[in-house]
Every structure is written in C-alpha cells, then in structure tokens.
Amino acid sequence: MKELLENIIKGIVKNPELVKIVEYTNDDEIVFEIHVDPQDVGQIIGKDGRTIKSINTLLTAAKKDENTKFLLKVIR
C-alpha cells in the first residue's frame, strides 16, 4: 500500500525526489505521514481536500483486507 501511495504522490507533485512517507499502525488504522516539498502541499490536498480524498479512495479500493482503514496526514 505504501508503494501505491508513493507512486501516486510522486506522480502528481513538482518535486518527487522530496517525497517521503512514514507508515505506522494506530489501533485498527494504518497511518501514512506524507512529507513533501512545502510548495507541493496544496497540490496533494487539492481544492476542498478533493485530491487527498481521491487518493484515500484509491487506497481503500486496492486494499486486500476489508477492515483496514487508512489515515493520510500531510506534514508541512
């Protein structure tokens, strides 16, 4: 899943080489901390959070285990 997330994010930012993703589990949630170049933060979140929601939708659609939930955190 982390790889999928990384592929998507690297595809839509200006500076893919500055993308770093940290994954950890919190209870029944998988949390992804997304670190990107500050000028790419807006691009990832999108208008009204549409882009980050779309990314979450894709992750959720691709997951193998029905019960996993994803939380995406964009870190400035």
Binding site: L4, V13, R50, T51, S54, I55, T57, L58, A61, A62
Partner: protein
C-alpha cells in the same frame, strides 16, 4: 490543436544535429519529440555568412501517452484482477477505457473510485502539460451506461414540465453527472434552461422553462 510540452529552441550545424541536441536535452525517445524549423542552415563562403539550423522542439502527445501508461500501470498493479486498458488522445481530450475481470473494485460505490482515479490521472497529466487536458475514464462501460440512465431521468423529469410546473429539481448528483445533464438538455431541449444549485455534496440541477418560452 497540438499538444506542446516544454517547448525549447535548439541549434545545430544541420537540422539533424539540432534534433540530436533536443533528444539529448529531453532524455526521451525521438518519436516523443516534434519540431518546427525556425531557420534553415546555410553554408557561407569560407565560413563567412554561415547560418546554423534552429528548430523549435517540444514533447508531443506520444510522450504524454507513454507517461500516462506508465503511471496507470504503477497504480493498477496494486489492484487484484485482470484488466487491460486503452488510452486515446483526441486533441485535448484523453479517453482511458478499462476492460477485464474484477472491475467492480475499480468502479466503487456510485462510481466513486472511477471519479477518484479520473481526478488523479487528470492532475498527473496536467502537471506535465501546460495546455489544459481533459481526462475521461470509463471502466467496463460503467460511464456510458450511467449516462444513458441520466438521459432517462432527465427525459422523465422534462415530461413533467408544463404551464403550472415551470421548474423541476433533480436529485443531488456528482459534478460529472450534473455536467451530463447540462450538456444533454442544451443539446436535446434548447428551449429549456438548466442551473446547478446548493452546496456539495447535495448540489443538484434544476431544469426550467426559459422566460421567452413562457411568454410565447
């Protein structure tokens, strides 16, 4: 109109050599580059009056197509199922069609996953190109069937329009569905007007008789 990405001029003793410079600069395969000749090379006498070749090169839609293909592949390999897809460029529109087994997950509830995928592909491709490009994604003809369903809803609603009922509100729809309604009414019922009202996610279309029509 042609898609021109990262336009830049290159110089060389001949057009071929200028083109080689462009290939080296972009680091892509030659068929992904198009160019226009700005200046033909000219040989002067004893090196006096020499003119080098200048070309205006840019990456073409083949480049975008290959990039999109690569990106889509890197996403789809994480989905279970056996799909294939086709990418078609028509001017500034890209149509991505997917077929195969296990498409349900790619469609999602109410087509939510298609919408998300289309949004991401659109951002991906518009980051590469300075010309605005529209991306349309159809999974297993879901979109086409959905469109027909919407046409049916609109036709039924319009039948209820009459002297007393001057406008009709449709149920809330996603933005791409609302666009289908607007386009369909404009095309099929030019004497009617459409408008979107309300806030997402409850935004909906109203269809109404135009003023000129009421007077007539």
């Amino acid at each position: 109109m042609n898609i021109k990405i990262r336009e830049k001029q290159f110089e060389g003793k001949s057009i071929d050599l200028a083109f080689d410079e462009a290939v080296k600069y972009y680091g892509v395969s030659p068929e992904e580059i198009n160019f226009e000749v700005i200046q033909q090379p000219k040989k002067g006498f004893l090196g006096i009056g020499n003119k080098s070749a200048i070309i205006n090169a840019f990456l073409n839609e083949k480049y975008l197509m290959n990039k999109l293909n690569e990106f889509l592949n890197s996403i789809l390999e994480h989905f279970d199922g056996d799909f294939n897809y086709s990418i078609n460029f028509q001017g500034k529109n890209v149509l991505v069609r997917m077929e195969g087994d296990g498409l349900g997950k790619l469609i999602g509830k109410y087509g939510r996953t298609i919408g998300a995928m289309q949004h991401i592909l659109s951002i991906f491709i518009n980051r590469l190109s300075s010309t605005k490009i529209d991306v349309n994604l159809d999974v297993g003809e879901y979109r086409r069937k959905k469109k027909e369903k919407i046409y049916e809803i609109v036709d039924n609603a319009i039948r209820r329009l009459n002297e007393e009922t001057e406008k009709i509100e449709l149920a809330p729809m996603f933005s791409y569905e609302r666009r289908i309604v607007h386009e369909y009414v404009r095309r099929q019922y030019p004497h009617l007007e459409t408008e979107s009202i309300g806030l997402e996610p409850y935004r909906k279309v109203i269809i109404k008789l135009t003023k000129s029509h009421i007077k007539a």
